[in-house]
Assembly symmetry: C2
Homo-oligomer: 339 residues x 2
């Protein structure tokens, strides 16, 4: 069993911790919390061991929250750390904790690409083997990679213009976003981020809008030669971590379907390719997809652990991760409901 | 076994159907759908029998959705109909279907009070026995009733001024609400609605704001004599369908907690009394509470069925309903996380 710990129990950390604790080849040693809030109580209620900064132990005890040790003790015990701290803190943890301790770690997409090897299971699983520091690229980049890769394997991509309509904040985000504004960033980092994984010509622009459920992303892809026809896309994504939906017309329908089918936290783990947005002039295609921003990267975090440690080969790892997260069933249910 | 059907498979209908199908003394004969959409597919996926208007059977067949018969056939078979159609359609169904067939029915709070006996399990379970037509009052009114009743049993209420901050739309509501506006209605219907259940002096004003999760309601209650002290409220609500939270400070924290604890659709079924909003000057108190608008009335729908049919007495019915919905555990988990 591989000893894994999760440093940071927020949006990504709590989901990765759930998945690790179900993985037959991993043992979740514990998770870290820096504030004695309801999430700390959740972790304990869920049966996880909680590790906190040594100097904060008293504040947890004062609230009656059971603590199993310090963050440092947890990291010392782990074979691998999944760092799920907030954007920019991962690299600090690398400098201050993981490097001095020569501890392997997985980082999230909120960190700069220089923090480690940019990872997507479908695109470069094998290249991550043995890398000490791996960065799971962001939810949007992960989704672009899952969708671009199968297309690029079957058609010659000449150029991609990506346009992202990003959600303003996560449901539980205390920071929030502008309510009365759409803001934007031309030449957003997403193009570079995709290129850190796949060698493909791509530009991107990102707009941020005031809602909380799903990024709605899109691409216009031009081809050298024939573009894929609409019907051909179904076959391309049959066995991918992408749900292909015909009839959804709002992001809220997808969220509602996820709730109705009883998914924990309404996590679907897969981007939804929105086939009624498909347009083509023969040499290019336009297609949009909805990204469940909180859960998409969970699969890649698990696969990054298996790749880094070598405990599973690519296909076995991806299949096992899919099983743990229920991805095949979720994909099938969504495709059925929106057929 | 009591034969129950649910007419209308929307926000309330799908939740009531889930609960009826788990009730040991009820048999869910089926649900109705009027449009062959993803919710129709959901019902079939969930193992429910689907009944549609006779003239619409073809449109369901065209989409490959299995139909078990017509709406009329379903109603004919049922001992009781739970009418969960959209606001104002319940009374039409009463006139056109239930009255001619002399069929008992439960209606929702979107109907006028004249449609049937206004019901709240905690307040008037026994008075509903044998009533042919019962109206489960709205989510807000249900929550006000659950909170006012225990207070009124222990302290002499002189007056209540209620102020509601309503969510603009449900998550899956295609109608939506004004995004750039707060609208309001002085002398809102909620006061009358509460009085249709409890004889208490109350006025209400409702503001509608652009978000989707939880109504945030409040009351200033004045008393003849001493007002309850903050500490005394915990005891009052210990065994009520109300969660008492100390530390929550945004509605999103409650929704996030419901997601994290794995609740289907993040339904909590109980209003959350927000103890850090408590204020008092000795003869009055102010208190606010969050209402999970989609799920609060599910318990009352089930209890209305048992009361109307006489298959269970009040305490047994409420306990069984609580068990089916997991209310005791949900209340305890929320109170623990936000202690």
């Amino acid at each position: 069993m591989l000893n894994v710990c999760v440093n940071g129990y927020g949006t990504i950390g709590k989901r990765v911790a759930d998945a690790v604790s179900k993985h037959p080849k991993m043992k979740l040693l514990g998770v870290t919390k820096y504030t004695p809030d309801q999430d700390a109580k959740l972790a304990v209620m869920a049966g996880m061991k909680l590790f906190v900064p040594a100097e904060s132990a008293k504040s947890f005890a004062a609230k009656g929250i059971e603590v199993s040790g310090s963050v440092e003790e947890l990291v010392n015990m782990a074979d691998i750390v999944v760092d799920a701290s907030s954007d920019g803190n991962g690299v600090k943890n690398k400098q201050n904790i993981y490097l001095p301790k020569r501890k392997k770690a997985i980082f999230q997409g909120g960190e700069e690409a220089s923090v480690g090897f940019s990872f997507n299971a479908r695109c470069n699983f094998d290249l991550a083997a043995g890398k000490e520091y791996i960065r799971v690229v962001s939810c949007n980049t992960t989704s672009y990679c899952r969708i671009i890769k199968p297309i690029g394997e079957n058609y010659r991509i000449k150029n991609i213009d990506a346009l992202l309509i990003r959600r303003g904040a996560d449901l539980n985000d205390a920071k929030g976003s502008a309510l009365n504004a759409v803001d934007w960033k031309a030449k957003s980092h997403h193009a570079d981020d995709v290129r850190s994984v796949i060698d493909v010509p791509i530009s991107s622009i990102a707009f941020k809008v005031p809602h909380t459920h799903c990024h709605i992303n899109s691409m216009r892809i031009t081809f050298d030669g024939a573009a894929p026809k609409k019907d051909e896309l179904y076959g391309l994504f049959k066995n991918e971590r992408v749900a292909v939906l015909n009839t959804a017309s709002t992001s809220s329908q997808i969220v509602e379907a996820a709730r109705d089918t009883g998914l924990k936290r309404f996590d679907t783990f897969v981007p939804a390719l929105l086939m009624n947005t498909f347009m083509s002039n023969g040499s290019d295609i336009f297609i949009a997809f909805a990204v469940p921003q909180e859960s998409v990267v969970v699969a890649e975090n698990i696969d990054a652990i298996t790749s880094q440690s070598g405990i599973l080969q690519k296909n076995d790892s991806m299949r096992m991760t899919d099983d743990i997260l229920g991805i095949t069933k979720i994909k099938s249910q969504l495709e059925n409901m929106f057929s």
